[in-house]
Assembly symmetry: C2
């Protein structure tokens, strides 16, 4: 594509570095910015600059935070004995949105993905072990996506912590609420039968 | 959604102002930026700031340009008597990419869209008339999308220029190259029969 202006070209190139955004979408975003008030574009630039220069990570759970210790870790009314291990910040947001969890978190920063060169050393697994050393944590809840990477990471952590006096659980897999049996894939359905639970009426 | 950091929230809000980008996609883009080198995020911020503060429009054709007169208008080897009228910059890029057009352009800045409050006065139609006043332009090629807005704009310009000694043409509508007859919609197929052209063997 030949652009009529170098400024357009630079903006298109910057936007098209995002995964899932090609040159055409990047051009659409660039033209949108041009049609808006200047203040709106400058606001985006400011937010991106702030993000790149000022972001901090909680020194306990490695979640993104505005302070050295995040709001969740600093909240003493949460269950300090239960830690939910997740891949990234999005999972924390998703679990917090359920309103069903009152423990702490540990953000690994990804899942073990040999294909992309992400091994255990790139993740915050050593820091998880240090965190367990105090003995305050009684249960780890592994909450990973039901993918090969998620299963691999759970398996690795399970092995690594073998022999420690700590309960390790994972979130339940099964038919979604509102999901219809006939449309469920056979692996999920099979798993939901194997791991059947007592009926509560 | 509750975000663990104000910086994240501001970036997500800025990204989700783009059309077609919701909160979840905005969060995905924000997390992508965090995973990249700081320099890449700052590069995006710089490109957006530059775009918002330094962009210029060609004073002749209103296309985006790095100079008061754009490269296309400044190119004397192009056919100065033929002007292609388009809605926006993307159409200029698309037509330039064909390599089949050697005239100039006139960028209206949109199409007449009463539903969005865009009337002829919001578009560069008056400036098109001024441009024709010198008598140098002999043909206008109206190249609008085959939508109601495109047809309305073409109709309006056609009426407005009635009585002037100037040829007005529009791009041909018909079956796409490589398109199969049976899958063509009936309006396009009907139009391609009405406007049939001499066969060249």
């Amino acid at each position: 594509m030949n652009f009529p202006s170098r400024l357009i070209e630079e903006a298109v190139n910057a936007f098209s570095r995002f995964p899932g955004i090609g040159k055409k979408t990047a051009l659409r975003l660039t033209l949108h910015l041009l049609r808006q008030q200047q203040a709106e574009a400058l606001e985006l630039a400011r937010a991106v600059t702030n993000l790149a220069t000022n972001v901090q990570y909680c020194r306990t759970c490695h979640n993104i935070s505005d302070a050295p210790v995040c709001q969740i870790c600093a909240n003493k009314s949460r269950n300090q004995a239960l830690v939910c291990v997740v891949a990234d910040m999005r999972d924390v947001i998703a679990i917090e949105n359920t309103g069903q969890y009152n423990g702490l978190y540990h953000v690994l920063g990804g899942l073990i993905t040999p294909m992309e060169g992400i091994g255990p050393d790139q993740l915050k697994i050593a820091s998880l072990e240090e965190r367990l050393a105090t003995g305050e944590v009684r249960e780890l809840l592994l909450a990973f996506s039901a993918t090969m990477e998620g299963d691999t990471t759970a398996f690795y952590i399970g092995r690594k912590l073998q022999g420690r006096d700590i309960r390790i659980s994972t979130i339940a897999r099964g038919i979604s609420i509102g999901g219809e049996l006939e449309y469920a894939d056979e692996i999920t359905l099979g798993r939901s039968i194997q791991q059947r639970i007592p009926f509560q009426s």
